[in-house]
Amino acid sequence: MGLMCSRRRYRLGERKVQEMKSRIIGAALLVVLLASTNAFAQIKVVATTQDLESIAREVGGDKISVESLAKGYQDPHFVEAKPTFIIKLHSADLLIVVGRELEIGWLPPLVNQARNARIQPNGDRYLDASQTAKILEIPTGQITRAMGDVHPSGNPHYWLGPDNGRRIAQLIQKKLSEITPADAGYFAQRYADFDRRLADAEKRWQAAMAPYKGVKVVSYHRSWPNFTDAFGLDVIGYVEPKPGIPPSPTHTLELMQEMKRQNVKLIIMEPYFDRKTPDAIARETGAQVMVLAPSVGGVKEVTDYFKLFDYDINLVVNAIKQVGAK
């Protein structure tokens, strides 16, 4: 102010002030423009699975771009660490992982080579989606690999419980709001909307499954505890003798006897496992094999997190009706 007054004393100075003013306005405009383009710039999210991708999309809307590394129809334990994933991770603003050692066989070398400091484990742009999830089957006591490929920090297939979908969404909402605080309201509103639609859908799914509480099933791999827990199915055995160990004849025989004894008529499995043994068990015991979608993208129709449960529950209900299982 003082400067301007002192300059007003001179005519030349006045012109300078005018110039300065226009420059300031120009600079301000530029800043506003830059800020607005920044606001339009999307947060680049990379998720390890299509489930996380779908939930991130629900929360992030058009403020984020999101892609996943593993496909829903492949076994998430055995993904190849392709160099093309390095390129995706290199430019990622946020990496969302399933955690609980699901990706331990392939993600660490990719992250190491990503040349992206922020997405390194425990970096501020590395989000472990399992942090607040309800994790089942956390082993207690001494664990050894004699138990097969056990996950010491619990079953990593936790997204198959819809309540965990909500917890994951909340985590993502928090993280996105941290990254762009200006859009926190947008993310909060989208989360609230997702939460409401999920609650409605859960009622629908629960209603569909209500008549079949306690129906006994056998699953191929230990992928389904959160699903069966949420919808009241009772898993009495597994086609795999131990996690990650392929079916053996003795175990298969024992399982068939147990299924006959308990009158189990349903086998659930993932699309990426071989149907040979489950089919043989089904023939012997009169059971039905259901190939459920273990993830978004597991089958073509399952394009988002809601359709994942729509598809699986529809399949389960129809199969139960068909075999008349109790």
Partner: protein
């Protein structure tokens, strides 16, 4: 989950117990026992007596407080030790009623906070008289809990055993009939926010040595990745792989003839690689400098360093098939004469097929490496060519079959050519062990033919390592 729930219930029970104990003590503090303490307004009592009563009360209260304090400390100590053991069932029925009032929101978090409790260090009483002797007063902290939590920073450790058996006759290359060929011990961890470290110690009949030990700087700007330490040089494919990740028991002949055998080019130095981003494919350029004393290289002076350059391109043909192509060049001094050098040039190509939907049952990998060695000797340069081509097919979840054909001249004499095929079958009982058999037919330049059957047991214990690509 049951155990977890029990642990939460136990923790909340203890918390409620502690809370109610505190409540009861503070209740004593606020409302002293009636009658004696509350002087009736109708009977103005002697102030002296009131003071005495108050003193007595204060003593009583302090005694109660001390006893509760001691009990609380004992409980805390018990809680500290209980959190590492399976949760005991709480004995007191009273807190159970109050338990549901405790926070129940996210169960995982509640459980995560229950064990450890870093803020509270369970204490033991200092022996009486310690204070008088200049020792500490009150309770001493117990440091066992802190020691347990420091283990989380221990590096991931694994041991990989490699047992090799060899049968048949080979007068050119001798190998023991049965040998615990190598036990590789790995230590891997993040150093700080800027780097990670990988150390591989190899214990073999020759002794213990650092197979690799390097620091990787993961937080460099400009798409750079740097490594410092002893490491396998980025020359081609097989040279960069550890013995237990190869699809064969042995290494191709060209490795032995040009790169110095199973160890290959593996030296102390610096490596910097950069992603060359482009819209078409993955492209990575690597530049490295080494001491110059591995494989065919020998230094005579300190500045006889060897250096290496590599360019690697990779492209997905479709989601199941991809192509990986690289070229490498390295140059270093050799011991053939005064100031003589060896130059090596290599081209490698790998075609992978792994259908995502059947990824755990089927895969195919075809690979070839072509190498040219140009070795300066006092008698003149020797230019030699060597190669191998191989195919590996997974035909069941635990079964792999493969073939390899080798042909390589010797770096010292291009007219001496060794060649022959190999056939391999591998069985994987689990992800952590492999049993392999290999039939090898080799025609050596000396005119000797060797027919050998090799077998191998591989096993891995400890941390789950990631699979190399």
């Amino acid at each position: 989950m049951i155990v977890k729930r029990r642990r939460i219930r136990c923790a909340t029970a203890y918390a409620t117990l502690a809370f109610s104990t505190w409540l009861s003590t503070s209740a004593f503090a606020q409302t002293p026992p009636t009658g004696a303490a509350t002087p009736s307004p109708q009977q103005p009592a002697d102030p002296q007596q009131i003071r005495q009563d108050l003193d007595r009360l204060r003593q009583e209260f302090e005694a109660i407080r001390d006893s509760y304090g001691a009990r609380l400390a004992a409980l805390e100590a018990k809680l500290g030790s209980a959190s590492t053991q399976p949760a005991p069932v709480p004995l007191l029925p009273e807190p159970a009623a109050a338990a549901p009032a405790a926070p129940v929101s996210p169960p995982a978090q509640a459980a995560a906070q229950a064990p450890g409790q870093p803020g509270q260090v369970p204490g033991v009483e200092v022996p009486s008289g310690a204070a008088g002797a200049g020792g500490p007063e009150g309770s001493l902290p117990v440091y066992g809990g802190a020691a347990a939590s420091s283990k989380v920073f221990n590096p991931d450790m694994a041991v990989i055993g490699n047992f090799i058996g060899t049968t048949g006759e080979n007068t050119v290359e001798s190998a023991p009939s049965l040998e615990m060929h190598e036990a590789e011990v790995t230590f891997q961890a993040v150093v700080d926010p800027y780097a990670r470290a990988d150390v591989f110690l190899s214990a073999s009949p020759d002794g213990v040595e650092i197979e690799e030990g390097f620091l990787t700087l993961t937080s460099l700007p400009g798409g750079l990745l740097a490594k410092v330490g002893k490491m396998k040089e980025q020359f081609g494919k097989v040279n960069t792989m550890h013995a237990h990740t190869l699809p064969w028991v042995d290494v191709p002949i060209v490795m032995k003839n040009f790169l110095g055998g199973e160890e290959g080019l593996n030296d102390s130095g610096l490596s910097v690689s950069k992603l060359l981003l482009n819209p078409w494919f993955f492209l990575e350029a690597t530049g490295e400098v080494y001491q110059g004393n591995s494989g065919p290289f020998r230094t005579q002076e300190r500045n006889d360093v060897s250096w290496l350059g590599r360019l690697r391109g990779y492209r997905d043909i479709n989601e199941s098939t991809n192509l990986d192509i690289g070229t490498s060049f390295t140059r270093g001094h050799n011991d053939a004469g005064l100031n003589t050098t060896t130059r090596l040039f290599g081209v490698d190509a790998t075609l992978r097929y792994r259908p995502l939907r059947r990824a755990i049952y089927r895969r195919f990998l075809a690979r070839t490496e072509l190498m040219w060695s140009d070795r300066g000797q006092d008698t003149g340069d020797v230019s030699a060519f060597g190669m191998y081509v191989s195919g590996d097919y997974q035909f069941a979840r635990r079964w792999f079959g493969g073939v390899r054909f080798d042909r390589s001249a010797r770096a010292t004499d291009a007219n001496l050519i060794d060649q022959g095929p190999s056939f391999v079958v591998t069985y994987w009982p689990s992800e952590f062990s492999q049993i392999r058999g290999q039939y090898r037919h080799t025609k050596y330049a000396e005119g000797v033919t060797a027919n050998e059957a090799l077998f191998q047991f591989l096993f891995s214990i400890g941390a789950h390592g990631a699979h190399v690509f």
